[in-house]
Symmetry: C2
Subunit: 411 residues, 2 copies
């Protein structure tokens, strides 16, 4: 594969920087103007490549490079373009841009291939905005619908549906995509690891065995606001202390299941009307429990519920739990994984079979079609952070391994 | 004292409701348009009363009802008009409005009194906006200056000085007020108790022995942002967990000093760029330690610092402490308290000597002049809260006891 890496890198820098903030982090949250701008940048670069392009009603962006045999089910590759707040330049966008380079190479060099190759940039993969992840692929896979999405709100009270204006004009596109995804040969998603395993082991490529699933909940604590100077300690009903004890317990529960590779995190906390001289009367947190061993995840969840019940009794706090996600780990397709393995061997890349701690769109597509994931090392394992970085050799490896696998399957 | 309570109540309802929000709470934060509007409402009602009125450069509002003997040092009464976010209708404003009624009664009924009676509405008593309390009285008492105030910022980055436009035109008014306060006979502040002691005991009036002082600090925790699914528990540096453990410890330390009547509170918490799927890399809290026993307060502060040092070592977090206030409990003037006691007895009001857990402007004025405080019960001891309430009998008692004390001293 003989292509101009610097030209690709120049495009990469532009698209991955859309939404850059003053700190240097990327604020390309799903369905914001920046998110739409990144897709426009990609569409502009596809101009003249004679690809079929379209946007479905979930704002997923699709490209298709037709093969010579229209009877063969197509191979789909892809990832997503949205970021977390103050995020990095590789999570999601690397998979889309590496896939885009494969399609561009096929188009520009008139490389013959029998099987159609498709690329997708799924919308709203990150849960940061609506506290629900992989909304675009969930809609395309028929795993949710606009009506159900209305209960998910961002910080300003908007639901994802408020931004899906195309639902009015092409509602049938979602059913069309669901049907299409059930007919493809398979889906391969390339993504940064977002953890330290590959870098620590000096390994080029991770082949994902299974994707961890999240159990997610919102917990609302209600106590009573009081004057911080005049209310004695024994008469207080402090919602923030209840939340703080819960945060410490979530960490303890996560650590107790570390041998099963489960994790548990409180990522958000909000005290309404907070002030230094007011005992907090209300507090809300979000809890994220993940693992590839469902029984381990359930032990954490059960431990958390027991703890909250104890807090209710001991502290007289009102505590409401709202379950936001309750998912099962998703195994990846073994046969596609072995094709990735074969191509690593052929191109001299070291590899390792491994779980994915993070969720990805591939876990939704896997319900309809064989799916696989390729992991690429990121520096220090850092992700969801402006310091997210990938070495040039690993950027080159991303394009190379994806190209080899696509050609192996589609030539 | 024969006055129209309903007329007073009608004025009270208007002024105490300035800044009412959709929930029914009052958002009359210091130096906002609502705060200035409340003062304008008061000035409008003073029109025609032939009072001397003026605003000093700290935006403190002063009224003076001259007595027949200009050689006698005046008596000052008053409180403040600003509220905490989503606050109530009695904290501060009751003291100002009860005092205003005393002046109005003297004026309208041409009551003879030898000693001049003054009323003050100090500005920015609440620490909610700038994390510093009693700014107006501190400036008037010469306990701070505009230069030092510049380091205190509200959530939008503005300092109190940004709102003190009169500093340009009448900077000398602050020195004039400091001199005046050192020459008055004394200061008496009437205020709701903001705690449950009087109501629980069925007592009409509290006579404050000593005002608790705050030690306040901001604590900034810095760890490392990571992906909440991909980063194993043992590789995390979670700033929010560090803050949560600290919040629980602050409560524990406060409880351990309950017998000395000290309290300790974390009232605010902020995680920048927070998201459910990101391990928090940074977190800031504010800690408020109060008491009337300085050595007890210092034990809490020392315990907190020890705990933070332990967290640094055990968790590798970077933790910065910034001391915002470091004050000493302030005893009230015994002689003025005994005058209040005498007038309670004469008017048949039950009373109790007690400490003030909350800080008040009286603790600043006490540095320059004999100062005293009168506490009035509030329902359920609730304050800094939209549910703050005072029974009609206690509103009537407020005006009555203040009038009796003023006439005892000034007739």
């Amino acid at each position: 594969m003989d292509y101009d890496f610097n030209k690709w890198m120049s495009d990469y820098r532009v698209i991955s920087a859309v939404g850059e903030n003053a700190e240097g982090g990327i604020d390309r949250l799903a369905y914001t103007d920046y998110d739409f701008a990144a897709r426009t940048e990609l569409l502009n670069r596809a101009y003249g490549m004679r690809l079929q392009c379209f946007l479905d009603a979930a704002e997923n962006l699709w490209f298709s490079k037709p093969g010579t045999d229209p009877d063969l089910p197509p191979l789909l590759i892809g990832s997503h373009l949205d970021t977390v707040p103050n995020g990095g330049r590789y999570d999601g966008v690397l998979g889309v841009m590496a896939g885009f380079q494969v399609l561009r190479y096929l188009a520009e060099n008139k490389v013959a291939h029998r099987r159609t190759v498709e690329l997708v940039a799924f919308s709203c993969e990150e849960s940061s905005r609506f506290n629900l992840s992989t909304i675009g692929s969930k809609l395309a896979c028929g795993m949710t619908d606009p009506e159900k999405l209305k209960k998910y709100k961002d910080a300003s009270g908007s639901s994802p549906v408020d931004f899906l204006s195309r639902l009015k004009y092409a509602p049938e596109s979602l059913e069309d995509r669901r049907k299409h995804l059930s007919e493809i040969l398979g889906y391969i998603e390339l993504h940064i690891e977002q953890g330290p395993v590959l870098e620590t082991g000096g390994i080029d490529v991770g082949i994902v065995e299974s994707i961890a699933a999240p159990i997610r909940l919102r917990v609302d604590f209600t106590g009573r606001s009081d004057h911080s100077g005049a209310c004695p300690m024994d008469l207080r009903s402090d919602a923030l202390v209840g939340a703080a004890l819960t945060i410490a317990e979530v960490e303890r529960l996560g650590r107790s299941e570390a041998s099963s590779r489960s994790v548990a995190t409180v990522g958000t906390i909000n005290v309404p009307h907070q002030a230094m001289n007011v005992v907090p009367g209300a507090c809300t947190i979000h809890v994220d429990i993940r693992g590839i061993d469902r029984s381990s995840m359930e032990r954490i969840y059960a431990g958390l519920r027991d703890f909250l019940q104890k807090l209710r009794v001991e502290r007289g706090l009102k505590i409401e739990e709202t379950l936001l996600s309750d998912e099962y780990p998703v195994p990846m397709d073994r046969h596609l994984g072995e094709i990735i393995e074969r191509n690593c061997k052929n191109t001299g890349l070291s590899y390792r079979w491994m779980p994915s701690g993070a969720g990805h769109d591939a876990m939704n597509v896997a319900k309809l079609a064989p799916s696989a994931m390729i992991f690429i090392p990121c520096v220090g394992g850092i992700s969801h952070n402006l310091k997210e970085n990938v070495l040039e050799k690993d950027l080159r490896n991303s394009i190379q391994i994806l190209y080899e696998v696509v050609m192996d399957i589609c030539r």
